[in-house]
């Protein structure tokens, strides 16, 4: 899946230099000082500093990390720990250390979603295992444990009682030696690492929010790796000899349609909007190839995502459906479209959608406003169309959370106001389904139901980008669980 979409990951060639250093730019600075429970709580995992009990394979199934095996026993799961792992402070990984770490994160004011509201409890179970118990038997505990929010630090890191001290206290291939707020961080290779050692001896991570600045810094040779470059910059960095990697992102841009009131309470109108929008054109022309056209909620980032491209526009069909619903030249349909500018592609897409719907006879009035002000209104159903951007995975590669919050009757983020008992019944069955393959089949089925009911129009799946110049070895992970930096090796 990934291989098909990766243009190349070899940097600029050259001889790998395992004793060399790298400077890299990441897009988002750590707003909450690397706190595990925060929005960017998986940061220590992506840097290759902190590790979790499990990770996932390329089919989004749980795989060993600090735990080598696990089994469900009634309402608990027993995780057997890897032998011979030591923290960066030299202390060994023990069941007690894991209990200290995960009890801490479970006890914070707002615990991470991966373990919230499930009655999470953990205890040591013998000399080499921990037992995690929940209120109800939990089918996906091994997947939950891959969340970067559940990184495990040495017991000494928690001794202060407040936020854990992440410097020199994790188990990963990099030792976090220096944190300079939201500006930079310094990582040094962990020579005692239990697995494959990091490719660079030292990495300076710079947090550069401006995409143009990241691109220029790569061209100038200040950085050997940068993530998140806009399409407009890609040719420029390619011409400077940088390798560009584009890979799927577990995110969808949906055009949400309010089904709680006319006109979108009528499925024919929703179908008309779907038919009138040319998703391949949006992805390839309007966004200049910076996204893949969406056939349904899930894209190529996950194994259960749709692989067939969506159809192009069928304006005639759209007009016909509108006519059946009672709209036409005598009774034109005018709707409001709201969106927000934080994601720059959204206003651009809104303008293109306005033009496409005008072809079908729908007049669209666009309002670009503040998301935080819009949110209560759209959640209350006081809108027509809402152009949103939404990650469909929540901290670990399982879609049950998004499918529940966004599309079940009364879901906490049910902007479309969709309510279908058959869909709810399908989602309810997920609670008792342990087998990852069966769960993934059910995710596909749920997405199919949403498409069949025209619950909004899934427009595009944005692509992630990364560039290398003077480094090799980048392996993109659309699931964003595997660390980015340990594979990078300086090249001459």
């Amino acid at each position: 899946m990934v291989a098909l979409l990766v243009a190349g990951c070899g940097g600029t060639g050259g001889t790998p230099d395992a004793e060399g250093e790298l400077a890299v730019a990441l897009q988002f600075p750590p707003r909450a000082d690397y706190a595990f429970e925060a929005d960017d709580g998986a940061r220590l995992q992506s840097l290759g500093v902190a590790e979790t009990l499990t990770t996932v394979d390329d089919q989004a199934r749980p795989a060993p990390m600090l735990a080598t095996s696990w089994e469900q026993q009634g309402d608990s799961w027993r995780f057997t720990l890897r032998e011979g792992v030591t923290f960066h402070d030299g202390t060994p990984l023990t069941p007690e250390a894991v209990v200290t770490a995960l009890s801490h994160i479970a006890g914070v004011e707002a615990p991470p979603r991966a373990i919230r509201d499930i009655g999470f409890a953990i205890e040591a179970d013998g000399p080499d295992a921990v037992r995690i118990t929940t209120d109800e038997p939990d089918p996906i505990m091994p997947l939950r444990m891959s969340s970067g929010n559940l990184g495990i630090l040495a017991p000494a890191a928690y001794a202060g009682g407040g936020a854990p001290d992440y410097l020199r206290s994790a188990t990963g291939p990099f030792v976090f030696t220096e944190a300079n707020g939201t500006e930079s961080a310094v990582l040094v290779r962990n020579e005692e690492y239990w697995g494959e050692k990091a490719g660079a001896a030292r990495i300076t991570v710079r947090y550069v929010e401006d995409p143009q600045a990241r691109a220029l810094a790569v061209q100038a040779g200040d950085l050997q790796f940068a993530e998140g470059l806009p399409q407009a910059q890609l040719e420029q960095v390619r011409s400077a000899g940088a390798e560009v990697v584009e890979y799927p992102n577990a995110r969808t841009v949906p055009l949400q349609l309010n089904q709680a009131r006319p006109p979108f309470a009528d499925e024919r109108v929703r179908q008309a909007v779907t038919a009138a929008i040319d998703r391949p054109v949006l992805a390839e022309q309007v966004l200049a190839g910076g996204a893949a056209p969406a056939a349904d909620l899930f894209g190529a980032a996950v194994p259960w995502g749709a692989s067939a491209p969506p159809p192009g526009a069928d304006v005639e069909k759209a007009r016909q459906l509108l006519a059946e619903a009672g709209y036409g030249p005598e009774k034109p349909l005018t709707v409001q479209l709201w969106t927000f500018p934080n994601r720059p592609e959204l206003p651009t897409l809104a303008n293109a959608i306005q033009a496409m719907l005008a072809e079908a006879g729908i007049r669209v009035e666009i309002t670009v406003g503040d998301y935080q002000a819009q949110e209560p209104e759209v959640l209350a159903g006081n809108y027509d169309m809402y152009l949103n951007s939404r990650s469909y995975l929540s901290d670990f590669p399982d879609a049950a959370s998004t499918l529940t919050s966004d599309y079940t009757c009364g879901g906490s983020y049910a902007i479309d106001q969709y309510c279908n008992p058959a869909y709810d019944a399908l989602i309810a069955k997920l609670n008792g389904t342990v087998d990852p393959d069966e769960r993934q089949r059910m995710f596909t089925e749920a997405a199919g139901m949403l498409t069949a009911d025209a619950v909004g129009v899934m427009l595009v799946h944005p692509l992630n980008t990364a560039v290398l110049r003077g480094a090799t070895g980048f392996t993109p992970d659309p699931l964003q669980i595997a660390p980015i930096l340990p594979q990078l090796t300086p090249s001459g």
Binding site: A32, G181, D210, L216, A220, L223, A373
Partner: protein, 315 residues
């Protein structure tokens, strides 16, 4: 001068008190719930659980009446306790202090460079209004005023970092990282200073007492600096006072483009995250610097201007 300074400093506390009311009230008037914003930043939850939201609101003291919240905040402020950031949970004093130190350094260097470039350029251009140098500098200063930072910064990076490879494109911590940001920040005040000095000096050089000084045999260099440009220093000082607070807290574009952990970027990020303690402390600091800079500029202007100095002595 001391009496004038003391009189002006007496005005500072009430001004800062009034500013503190505004700084406290304005973020609360935009209608966004900080508790929800904090939870969103800390948990990534699109719609936080209402019980958690209420608990966080109570913990942060956001459920108390606004007046009580203000008095509590003001009391802590007077004790030197700026609290902790809602999002980062780090001490605000350290967060704002380190960012202000970074921006302070940039501000001082940019204004010094602007003075070093702008004042002589304006003075020499004034020697022969309409001459070749005057026309050349006139075009240069128009460009300095007109070209925005978000254009100038990438252009300089393209030339000096990408093209010539002599300076870093982004980063902070090395003296080389200062060069391009300081050049960008200095461009606008330098151009304004040059225009100001040029206009004032040209006016002074045309006055009868300067002609008399020339007739007495005073050299051109001495005429220029003793009679011409010296009088423009009052205006240039006032200009510097205006720029201090703007550069300290408002150099967002330059700080973002060059990845500099300054006050502008910190405040911008805090506003986005509704991190009220950081927003309030940072804004108040910028206001305090602006007020103090205003006082100093007034005192300096009086000290430099013989007419004002005499009037002050006569009080």
């Amino acid at each position: 001068m001391t009496a004038l300074l003391l009189r002006r400093l007496l005005v500072v506390p009430p001004v800062l008190l009034a500013a503190s009311v505004l700084v406290f009230a304005l973020p609360r008037m935009v209608g966004v719930d900080p508790a929800r914003a904090v939870l969103r930043a800390r948990t990534a939850e699109a719609v936080p659980d209402p019980a958690t939201e209420a608990r966080v609101r109570a913990e942060l003291g956001l459920d108390a009446p606004a007046v009580e919240q203000y008095l509590r905040w003001l009391g802590a402020l007077l004790r030197g306790d700026l609290g902790h950031g809602y999002v980062s949970q780090n001490p605000v004093a350290a967060e704002v202090g380190s960012a202000a130190a970074v921006s302070g350094l940039l501000t001082v260097l940019a204004l010094a460079l602007a003075a070093v470039l702008g004042v002589p350029a304006g003075a020499y251009a004034a020697r022969r209004p309409g001459g070749r140098l005057d026309r050349f500098l006139g075009a240069g200063t128009i460009a300095g005023v007109a070209v925005p930072e978000f254009v100038l910064a990438p252009c300089l990076v393209l030339v000096f970092a990408v093209g010539l490879g002599v300076l870093p494109a982004v980063g902070w911590g090395d003296p080389a990282h200062l060069v391009l940001p300081v050049l960008v920040l200095a461009a606008y005040p330098a151009a304004l200073a040059a225009q100001l000095v040029r206009a004032e000096t040209a006016g002074v050089l045309a006055r009868p007492h300067v002609l008399l000084a020339r007739a007495k045999g005073l050299g051109e260099h001495a005429v220029l600096w003793r009679h011409g440009a010296r009088l423009a220093t009052t205006s240039v000082t006032a200009l510097a006072g205006m720029f201090v607070s703007g550069l300290l807290g408002g150099a967002v574009v330059v700080e973002v483009v060059f990845g500099i952990p300054g006050l502008g970027r910190t405040l911008h990020r805090a506003v986005e995250a509704q991190d009220l303690p950081v927003v309030q402390a940072g804004t108040l600091l910028v206001v305090a610097v602006a007020v103090l800079a205003g006082v100093l500029v007034e005192v300096l202007a009086t000290a430099l201007d013989p007419v004002q100095r005499g009037a002050e002595r006569a009080r």
